[in-house]
């Protein structure tokens, strides 16, 4: 077998090699098999047993997820259980077997397919999402009906595999979190897709946007992932394997050296100290945050508390989650971002209107202002937790002063209510905003006067500045963090913040690339927040350079005409200080 090389978008760094595992190609083949009339009763019994086994598995899984991750993430399984006792489904299958003399798996598959297709065509986001839930459930049942089954699911997944999937959803992320996975390959997605975020938080490489990896890679293929260059090598030759094994050893040795940096400050050789914090999705990531020496959490993405469940998290539940994180990261602080729903993140408990352009629609702060009931519950929970540690809060996607004032008005109402109820909260709690919309950049001075800090969300700022959908792999090549327009946006934000005497942080994926971080350092960023696994690499860069040199370099880089020129220039400059 000759080696095949696929090129995609590097989404998480590192090298991995091992056996591939194709996760859900989205279609599976169930043979049409006839049975004799005398077999009908036993076939129905077989179906019922399969359903019972599936139910037992789901109960078990629910208990496990509840214990490992939390009740919130486990609640999706209640809906799965309801489906497995749905009379329309059960009687549909038993009647079907009687009427057609076909096997249980085939009849079940046909009935389920009809449901899935109907759901998939529903105009409503929530119901469309149910199609994948129903497929999930059907796979679980089919597994018990088909002996030679090649169907798999995440829970029966063995460790040490390279996952190949069309795409990974946030709910896959939840199931994946406690597995030892070596790397990820996906057909779609860009540098900031969920796959990238999951891979980085697991510290494994990922290549996304491969277009047809699920077709080119077979189950159990030997695969090498080069997360630095975005390459995938299927059936590598012995030479290629050796090359990559050496390369990986180099990276590991480098990481071990990095470990020594854990307790050292991120300080330039001429004495400028920069704070490096971690981004957090699940509270179960806190050990990793500590392991890499993060100085707190610069971005706590609260959406994950709302996902994979049918109801909304209560004030009490959120309060406990925020308090837990605040206590766990002490003496450092945590910046909680209020609910950033919409765009590519949806939840089941609330039907978000179907926007033609979800990233330009009713998302993030816009959604929260439209649903003050949901917003206020979260604000109460955050405020109540604020007495248990160093908590600050920020609003996502603010596009102008009017919106900021509106959000603050809601916050003041909530504070007033808490005071009336004699419930303690931190009266001095800092409230900042994410800068991720060009309109916010252009009005940054005015915004800075009415907020405590800025946090630049580059993932969205880049997509809005360059008009590039960040989850569309077809436009991924246009997604250039070093594009001069993006750099000017960032510079303007930093300058506006500093002129008004406020702190300017940056919490996008851009910060985790040492090259771009070098540039950002020179541009004057006060604080970086990134996936925990990237912290030490960036710290190493900061500890090797002079702020003065970074500033001079940034000034020159800003004069260049294209993103590519900027990257090449910064790369060359950085190599003077950082051999590798």
């Amino acid at each position: 077998m000759s080696e095949i090389v696929l090129k995609g978008i590097p989404a998480a760094p590192g090298i991995a090699y091992g056996t591939s595992f194709i996760l859900d190609k989205g279609e599976f083949i169930v043979p049409k098999r006839s049975i004799s009339s005398s077999e009908i009763d036993s076939e129905i019994a077989r179906f019922e047993e399969a359903v019972n086994n599936a139910r037992r598995e789901i109960h078990h899984l629910k208990a496990k997820i509840t214990q490992d991750i939390g009740l919130a993430q486990a609640q999706i399984f209640d809906a799965h259980l309801l489906v497995l006792q749905d009379p329309a489904l059960l009687s549909g299958v038993t009647c079907g077997i009687r009427e057609t003399n076909l096997s249980a798996e085939y009849v079940f598959f046909t009935v389920i397919k009809k449901f899935v297709e109907t759901f998939a065509q529903m105009p409503d986001e929530y119901l469309r999402e149910r199609a994948s839930d129903v497929s999930d459930i059907s796979k679980r049942v089919l597994k018990h009906l088909m002996d030679e089954s090649k169907l798999h699911d995440l829970d029966s997944l063995q460790d040490d595999l390279i996952i190949v999937a069309h795409d990974l959803s946030p709910s896959d992320a939840v199931s994946m979190y406690n597995k030892k996975i070596k790397g990820f390959l996906t057909d779609i997605g860009g540098r900031t897709s969920h796959t990238a975020i999951i891979a980085k938080s697991l510290g494994v490489p990922a290549v996304v946007g491969l277009k047809d990896a699920t077709l080119k890679v077979n189950n159990q293929d030997y695969v090498v992932i080069d997360g630095q260059k975005g390459l995938v090598i299927i059936n590598p030759s012995e030479e290629t394997k050796e090359l990559y094994i050496k390369e990986q050893h180099k990276i590991i040795a480098c990481l071990e050296k990095l470990d020594d940096l854990k307790n050292l400050p991120a300080q330039t050789t001429d004495g400028k100290k920069i704070s490096i914090l971690a981004n957090l999705e699940f509270s179960s990531e806190i050990p990793a945050v500590r392991k890499y020496g993060a100085e707190g959490i610069g971005l706590y993405r609260t959406e994950f508390l709302y996902m994979n469940r049918l109801d909304l998290p209560s004030e009490e539940e959120q309060f406990k989650a925020y308090r837990q994180v605040a206590r766990a990261v002490a003496p450092f602080g945590v910046t909680i971002r209020t609910l950033d729903l919409g765009g590519d993140k949806f939840i089941s408990s609330v039907q978000t209107p179907k926007d033609m352009s979800p990233f330009l629609g009713c998302r993030a702060i816009r959604f929260c202002l439209e649903r003050p009931d949901i917003f206020k519950t979260q604000l109460r929970a955050i405020l109540r937790a604020s007495v248990y540690g160093r908590i600050q809060m920020m609003y996502p996607m603010i596009s102008g002063l009017g919106e900021l004032r509106q959000a603050n008005a809601v916050l003041n109402q909530v504070k007033g209510a808490l005071r009336d109820e004699k419930i303690a909260f931190d009266e001095q709690m800092k409230v900042g905003i994410m800068i991720e919309v060009p309109a916010a950049v252009m009005t940054a001075e005015a915004l800075a006067r009415e907020t405590h800090f800025f946090s630049i969300g580059t993932n969205d700022l880049i997509q809005y500045t360059l008009a590039v959908d960040r989850v569309n792999e077809k436009t991924a090549y246009l997604y250039e963090p070093a594009h001069p327009a993006v750099l000017k946006m960032i510079q303007k934000t930093i300058d506006a913040g500093h002129n008004e005497g406020i702190h300017v942080a940056l919490c996008g994926e851009m910060a985790s690339d040492p090259l771009l971080a070098f540039l950002l350092l020179g541009m004057g960023i006060d604080e970086f927040s990134m996936s925990a696994a990237s912290i030490l690499t960036v710290k190493r860069m900061i500890r090797s350079v002079k702020l003065q040199d970074a500033q001079r370099m940034a000034y020159e880089a800003m004069q260049l005409a294209t993103g590519q020129e900027v990257e090449e220039f910064v790369d060359a400059q950085l190599h003077k200080f950082l051999p590798l």
Partner: protein
Amino acid sequence: MMSKIEKELTVVNKKGLHARPAALFVSLVEKFDVTVTLAKGPEVVNGKSIMGILMLGAVEGTVLKITVEGAEAVEAMAEFKKFFNKQEEELVL
């Protein structure tokens, strides 16, 4: 005593009879010794079928004809009426 009651109830919930309300409705039906059907125009679904209810796509303002049959039909219908009237609060938590 077996009885059969029919009533037209309107979905008042802004978000329709979806998600959590549908699951809650099924759990409610299961508490009673009754058979329940929900009809939206010509479409009729079993009240114990979460997928059936979801597929009705009952948005705010939809009038559903609910038929309850069985020993506890009266009690069940009273609960369903309550359920439909307070859906709004249920979802908002």
